[in-house]
């Protein structure tokens, strides 16, 4: 089988390039990095505290809307936070804590929500008029347990039930205190719960906001590896493979091949496939590695990450087809690299501008004459040229959908989230993107074959 011989030859050529080992090294480091990153479920307390800020904001809004409580602000203080069943996971257990609202008036204190200084650090000699005292009293009256339970239930959206009882012991003159019990959460598994990543098997905490495992998986798989990582791999692969065809077409080398009983078209196509083999090996190595590492660490087996192997290879084929045509025309690796990079920048810019100015702008504003021609121009370029960025977005969409299906246990939530995805990425389709890009690849490779088949060497 001649094709196997040429693929084997391409593999040998690949393994001979030092940059391949640099790439493999980068991939190994990336996989090890992801594999050594652990995700510890955070306790309930850090989830609740930031949300209490929003709850308090709602309470203050209520205060300002009524004449008798206008001017009163509340600062929430949480104490004695306790997981009632420490043996269970945070999202499965009930929790209890004491919630105290420190009530202040506007004149006595700046807005405590935006300047949350502890009570003992408040300026001395706060001005407290009779009217202030009345307002604070009215606010205290407003903060009935049932009211507090309602606002807490709204704010702590993932908690199943909230029980609130007055806590007289903690309350002072300007304070209202409650014993709050959170009964269970709507989360059914670890996948939906908030985690914090820790690098190097927990040795180093990453200062990032709390994220669910699904969000972390999407961030690492799609953005860090799929976006940045594969761009690096794509760029290095373009540089490395750009020399494959010029080397084959070099004087003294091509004569040896053309004297063999193989058609020129088959020779070029097989060599082209050999270049793609290089990309498949690289992306398969890193994406399978990341898929395994993330899967073992998070329990989320995001199969869409594996889809990235053929997708990224297809994207690479767009650039490699141009590289092949330039190589046949010029026999120069440098010119092939330059041409390919120019195309990459062009497609990247076209993809982004089409997304930002056309897909978003088209609906936002009525089309004026000048805009109309811009739309026509962009649409024409977008239709004819390969849709490199569209494929990127469609890949992101596939990963997000996979994660939604795995993590959202409620069917209605799942359907809603998928509908949101459809809305966000609805302008792009696999069919259109693959047909436009595939046609471009076929055209470039066809022209390269035509030139190669008819040229005298």
């Amino acid at each position: 089988m001649k094709i196997l011989a040429i693929l084997k030859d391409s593999l040998r050529e690949t393994l001979d390039v030092k940059l391949f080992y640099v790439l493999a090294g980068i991939s190994v480091l990336a996989i090890l990095f992801v594999a050594s990153t652990t995700y510890r479920p955070e306790p309930m307390e850090p989830q609740v505290k930031p949300l209490l800020g929003f709850v308090t904001f709602a309470i203050i809004n209520d205060f300002q809307s009524k004449a008798e409580t206008r001017g009163v602000f509340a600062r929430p203080e949480v104490s004695d936070f306790e997981q009632l069943d420490p043996a269970r996971e945070p999202w499965e257990s009930d929790h209890r804590f004491t919630l105290t609202f420190d009530l202040r008036t506007e004149r006595g204190n700046d807005n405590p929500f935006f300047h949350p200084k502890p009570a003992q650090e408040q300026p001395e000699g706060r001005v407290r008029t009779e009217k202030d005292k009345q307002a604070v009293e009215a606010a205290k009256a407003k903060l009935a347990p049932d009211y507090v339970r309602r606002v807490l239930k709204d704010g702590l959206f993932f908690v199943k039930e909230v029980e609130v009882a007055p806590a007289a012991a903690a309350a002072g003159e300007d304070k209202a205190a409650f014993e709050v019990t959170l009964k269970g959460t709507t989360f059914k598994s670890r996948k939906e719960w908030f985690h914090k990543p820790r690098l190097f098997f927990g040795a180093l905490e990453v200062p990032v906001p709390l994220m669910t495992l699904a969000a972390i998986t999407q961030f690492v798989g799609d953005w860090i590896i799929g976006g940045f990582g594969t761009s690096v791999i794509m760029f290095l692969s373009i540089i490395m493979t750009a020399s494959f065809l010029p080397t084959m077409l070099g004087k003294g080398t091509i004569d040896l091949l053309l004297a063999k009983p193989i058609s020129r078209t088959a020779l070029l196509l097989d060599k082209f496939l050999g270049g793609l083999l290089f990309m498949i090996l690289n992306t398969a190595f890193i994406m399978v590695g990341i898929w395994l590492a993330l899967g073992f660490q998070t329990g989320l087996w995001t199969h869409a990450l594996l889809l990235c192997v053929p997708i990224y290879t297809f994207q690479f084929a767009i650039f490699y087809s141009v590289s092949a045509l330039i190589a046949v025309l010029t026999r120069s690796a440098i010119v092939a690299i330059l041409g390919t990079v120019v195309l990459w920048v062009l497609l990247f810019a076209l993809g982004w501008t089409h997304w930002v100015f056309i897909e978003r702008g088209r609906d936002a504003k009525p089309q004026e004459t000048t805009q109309h021609w811009a739309y026509v121009g962009y649409d024409a370029a977008h239709t004819v040229l390969p849709r490199y960025k569209d494929i990127d977005w469609l890949t992101t969409r596939a990963i997000k959908e996979d994660l939604i299906r795995q993590t959202l246990s409620d069917e209605a939530d799942r359907e809603k989230a998928i509908k949101d995805l459809d809305k966000e990425y609805g302008a792009y389709s696999w069919r259109g993107s693959l047909i436009a890009s595939g046609t471009f690849i076929a055209l470039m490779v066809g022209l390269a074959c035509l030139r190669f088949a008819t040229k005298d060497y």
Partner: protein
């Protein structure tokens, strides 16, 4: 029926005619040498025969079929001039790769690789990367790949280029052995001495035209010129020989005797015997291939080797 036959082969590159109606024939089992200056069209000729370059006009047949088809290429071995092997291969892996392209059965490839590499003296280095080879070793490997699939016709473009004298002799012996096996060998070379030693027939190509062709004997024979030498200390009877009507030219201690039409060397031999002189050297003088080549090319275009100017765009 000739193994290689071309009729009025023309190759044009724009306004430049690299071949101007070349007609050649090479019989089975011959070693055929194609001579010519740089740019004479030798490599173009070979590339047309192998289908690497397409002729503008004319016909070329090889092994009874149109030259350059895949079926014909399968039966042909080729060592190009200035060939460059992918240096990530070892000799063994390179032969395996080319063998696959030549449709050599997998089962016999390894054994055959060892055989041909032994033939060219590279068996001990078959697992070393090509990049570690000297120029001479690469040349030997080139010959090995040309012979790998046991072809019927072998094209060798400067096969001894970069090879040391001992290696050249080995290659000459190898070509002789291949000839004995019935292979047809088409040789392009600048080393006229070697061509003279091994070729049965040669053609001289000049600016795309065949200006001489024939067997080595036909081309190098110089009729009517003999070299005569006597035993040391004996004086050649110059005046008496001249009196017989021969032209004489001193060639060191020997004499070159020129014969006119109808004359033979026999009267001189009898004269020397009658005088009691001892004949130590008597040979019909042949011109070397180099003499012939220079003479032929100079005759075709005195002053030589100017190249057509590149057309301005």
């Amino acid at each position: 029926m000739p193994v290689i036959e071309t009729k009025n082969l023309v190759k044009q590159y724009g306004k430049i005619e690299a071949l101007k109606g070349v007609s050649l024939g090479v019989e089975k089992g011959q070693i055929f040498g194609l001579l010519g200056q740089n740019g004479a069209g030798k490599t173009t000729m070979v590339k047309i025969l192998l289908g690497i370059t397409k002729p503008s006009f004319g016909n070329a047949l090889m092994l009874g079929e149109p030259a350059g088809t895949a079926a014909v290429r399968k039966r042909v071995g080729y060592l190009p001039e200035d060939h460059r092997f992918p240096d990530y291969h070892t000799a063994a892996s390179l032969l395996d790769f080319y063998g696959s392209l030549l449709e050599v059965p997998s089962a016999g490839k390894k054994k055959r690789a060892a055989e041909v590499l032994e033939m060219v003296g590279l068996k001990g280095r078959m697992d070393y990367k090509v990049r570690t080879y000297s120029k001479g070793m690469k040349q030997r490997l080139g010959i090995a790949q040309a012979l790998f699939h046991d072809p019927e016709v072998i094209f060798l473009d400067e096969p001894t280029d970069g090879v040391d004298p001992l290696g050249r002799r080995e290659i000459r012996d190898l070509l002789g052995q291949l000839k004995d096996e019935g292979k047809t060998i088409f040789l392009n070379s600048h080393l006229l001495g070697e061509v003279e030693l091994i070729c049965d027939r040669v053609a001289i190509l000049d600016k795309g035209e065949v200006i001489r062709q024939g067997t080595m004997a036909e081309l190098t024979k110089q009729r009517g010129l003999y070299v005569v030498g006597l035993a040391p200390g004996q004086e050649f009877p110059r005046a008496d020989v001249a009196a017989l009507g021969y032209d004489l030219t001193s060639d060191g201690e020997k004499w070159e005797v020129g014969l006119s039409d109808g004359q033979t060397i026999d009267p001189i031999v009898e004269l020397l015997r009658d005088r009691g002189l001892k004949l130590r050297h008597l040979a019909e003088k042949r011109q070397t291939l180099e003499d012939l080549f220079i003479q032929t090319v100079e005759a075709a275009e005195p002053g030589v080797d100017h190249r057509p100017r590149r057309r301005r765009r």
